[in-house]
């Protein structure tokens, strides 16, 4: 019987049959470009806007299981990393490009891993198609069909998912609109510099004296770590894998007048970036560039499992702290970065009118006087 449904199915099939070779041909014709990834907070060279047509961007990441020191006290964890860093590198594409990732799991590793791209469609973000054992590699291609900053992470199933993610196995993708970023009125936006900050919650078990424990292997650590994880209170909350990874000698730098794009991801837990002494001029809080950016924000919210982006033009020289404005997490647990900004101070924006000095006697008595209405 020839029903409407079968007719539609046939039509769909015909389209598919027609489309598949065409797709393969199109893809074969597309220019291919190999991209060398760089470790965060830096981002590989890329165009902010492009007039060229879609490309196939080839990336390669090697999974590295390795011990990392995560604070100034020398606390060590058995980290799991994309390409050796926590977070993994930021991958930049333009909307309509194809991202083709070769994911390598060397036989020196102990565990199976995969990758789930929040920017990709279907197949559990690619997780279903990328599970690789030690000694294997896989190639996945996905189409960057929507613009924004997105998290990627390892998701090897069950309790392994949060364990791998909180052991450092996450990163982000930035899919830029082909015409570049735009402000709330549709005018083009440009950045002079871009940094990628990946925030990471670690759950390191402590011994009976309150000292952080270390373990022979990741497997040895797992039972204790799972127990700490299930209480949901991180022992460390850090930027780029380590307390102080973006402060002091590693502080980020900028000049007055420079427009800086900050991409911030947290694959597991909510956070709330704030630039002490500055603002978010344009903020894509949910990280998706088809939405208009919000303006002049003081603090923005990054939902766990997402990335956001903020654009800011520095207006004063000096030190800025970029923090998770849960200040306990910033100061006690580590979620702090610093910017060193050079340039000329603007007295109009701020001036210390009178430096700290003893309270004037008039002011002293004034403060102690009874309120006027009681006289």
């Amino acid at each position: 019987m020839f029903t409407r449904r079968t007719m539609m199915a046939a039509a769909a099939l015909a389209t598919l049959v027609a489309a598949v070779p065409a797709l393969a041909d199109d893809l074969a014709k597309l220019p291919r470009e190999q991209v060398e990834l760089v470790a965060p907070p830096f981002i590989h060279a890329h165009e902010q806007a492009t007039k060229a047509g879609p490309k196939v961007l080839q990336f390669k990441m090697t999974i590295q299981e390795k011990e990392l020191v995560i604070d100034n006290e020398g606390t060590k964890i058995h980290a799991m990393t994309f390409n050796g860093s926590v977070p993994g590198p930021l991958m930049v594409a333009h909307q309509g490009d194809y991202v083709e990732l070769t994911l390598i799991n060397p036989d020196t590793n102990m565990m199976a891993h995969n990758i789930d791209f929040h920017s990709a469609t279907g197949g559990l973000g690619g997780g279903e198609l990328t599970m690789v054992n030690p000694g294997e590699q896989v190639v996945l291609r996905w189409k960057a069909d929507r613009a924004g900053v997105f998290v990627y992470h390892c998701a090897p199933g069950g309790s392994m998912i949060p364990w791998h993610v909180t052991s450092g196995m996450n990163g982000a993708v930035m899919v830029l609109p082909r015409e570049g970023l735009k402000d709330d009125t549709g005018k083009p936006l440009h950045y002079d510099k871009a940094f990628y900050i990946g925030e990471q919650d670690f759950y390191v078990p402590r011994d009976e004296n309150g000292k952080f424990k270390s373990y022979e292997s990741a497997g040895d650590a797992y039972p204790d770590q799972a127990e700490v994880m299930r209480k949901l209170i991180p022992s460390h909350e850090v930027f780029n894998g380590k307390v102080g990874s973006l402060t002091g000698k590693n502080a980020l730098t900028a000049k007055v007048g420079e427009q800086v794009l900050l991409v911030h991801s947290q694959a597991n837990r909510d956070t709330r970036p704030h630039l002490i002494g500055g603002h978010g001029d344009f903020v894509w809080e949910t990280g998706k560039f088809a939405n208009r950016p919000e303006k002049d924000l003081e603090t923005w919210f990054i939902r766990g499992g997402s990335a956001g982006a903020a654009l800011y033009t520095f207006k004063q020289p000096g030190i800025y702290a970029y923090v998770n404005h849960n200040l306990i997490e910033a100061v006690e647990l580590g979620a702090t970065a610093h910017f060193k900004v050079e340039g000329t101070w603007n007295d109009d924006l701020m001036k210390q009118v009178s430096p700290p000095s003893p309270i004037l006697s008039g002011a002293k008595t004034g403060a102690l006087d009874a309120p006027a209405h009681k006289h």
Binding site: N72, E73, K249, P317, G318, G334, E342, T344, S357
Partner: protein
């Protein structure tokens, strides 16, 4: 030069501090024999010392002025930092509060995880046990005893010509270039060696409380104090590999947030002995304080 306190001297000192000697009986403990306290006596002398605190010229932060200090009497200071065992005896006697990290340090290592109040309480208790008058050193006394191991904290890149942001950035660079001690764990007494005076473990991985309060002072063009000064005794000067200012109730100094650089790895202390007794010490300190103001 390492000198062991002579019993005769202690007996003389005990006369001067009679009220404390009486109080000692209250603890019901035998007195600590004076010759068990290792001290170093540094001969009188003068030295140039950069003052502790915040100083400003025309409302702009500047390096603290260096001043000539003259010690007219010998300075007698503990050769070693107060040990964990010594401090814990004070805790056991009920005269001191417990320190942090008790499990971490061996009894022979310096007491760490103590705040200014703990150090001061120990000085009072220790005075009563020994029959001598012990107290925390002033910042200048500590620096005098530290000798060549004292590190000047002036911001070197500061040429005094630009707005404060340049000095701010230079200070940030300087502070963030400090190396953290390779090992934070307190090491046995003497592990960091002796300085030219024979004082042990100066500028090792244990910072020491001093009695000097945080000071803020405006200076005139010639570097002399001008106007009123602010003295905040809720914050005390802590000395070690670098100078630090720490709130008096803090037992673990840590950096974070807007703070930068390597904070004191551990907070401990050593004491100086006032051989001149209460009155002499009070006069000396008053004169000391006035010498530069």
């Amino acid at each position: 030069m390492l000198l062991i306190l002579k019993a005769k001297l202690a007996a003389k000192a005990a006369l001067v501090v009679a009220p404390l000697a009486v109080a000692a009986a209250g603890y019901g403990l035998p007195a600590i024999p004076a010759d068990q306290v290792a001290v170093t006596t540094i001969a009188p002398g003068a030295f140039l010392h950069r003052l502790a605190g915040d100083f400003a010229l025309n409302g702009r932060p500047v390096n603290a002025p260096r001043r000539a200090f003259r010690f007219t009497r010998p300075l007698t200071i503990m050769t070693y930092q107060v040990s964990a065992a010594a401090y814990d005896a004070c805790v056991a006697a009920g005269a001191c509060e417990r320190r942090l990290f008790r499990a971490a340090a061996s009894a022979e290592a310096p007491a760490v995880g103590v705040n200014w109040h703990d150090a001061t309480a120990y000085a009072t208790w220790f005075s009563s046990r020994t029959g001598a008058r012990w107290r925390l050193p002033t910042d200048a006394e500590w620096a005098f005893a530290a000798g060549a191991r004292f590190n000047d904290d002036a911001v070197l890149a500061d040429d005094g010509s630009d707005s404060f942001s340049k000095r701010w950035l230079a200070k940030y660079e300087q502070e963030s270039s400090r190396q953290a001690p390779a090992d934070k764990a307190p090491r046995p007494a003497g592990a960091f060696g002796f300085n030219e005076h024979g004082v042990a473990d100066i500028a090792g991985n244990v910072w020491e409380w001093t009695d000097t309060c945080f000071l803020r002072q405006a200076l005139d063009a010639s570097g002399e104090p001008t106007g009123e000064r602010t003295v905040n005794c809720g914050v005390r000067v802590v000395e070690g590999e670098h100078r630090s200012y720490v709130t008096d109730f803090v037992r673990d100094a840590r950096a974070g947030g807007c703070a930068v650089g390597v904070p004191p790895a551990n907070l401990g202390f050593r004491l100086v002995r006032d051989d001149a007794g209460y009155l002499g010490a009070a006069v000396a300190r008053a004169r000391f304080h006035m010498r530069w103001i």
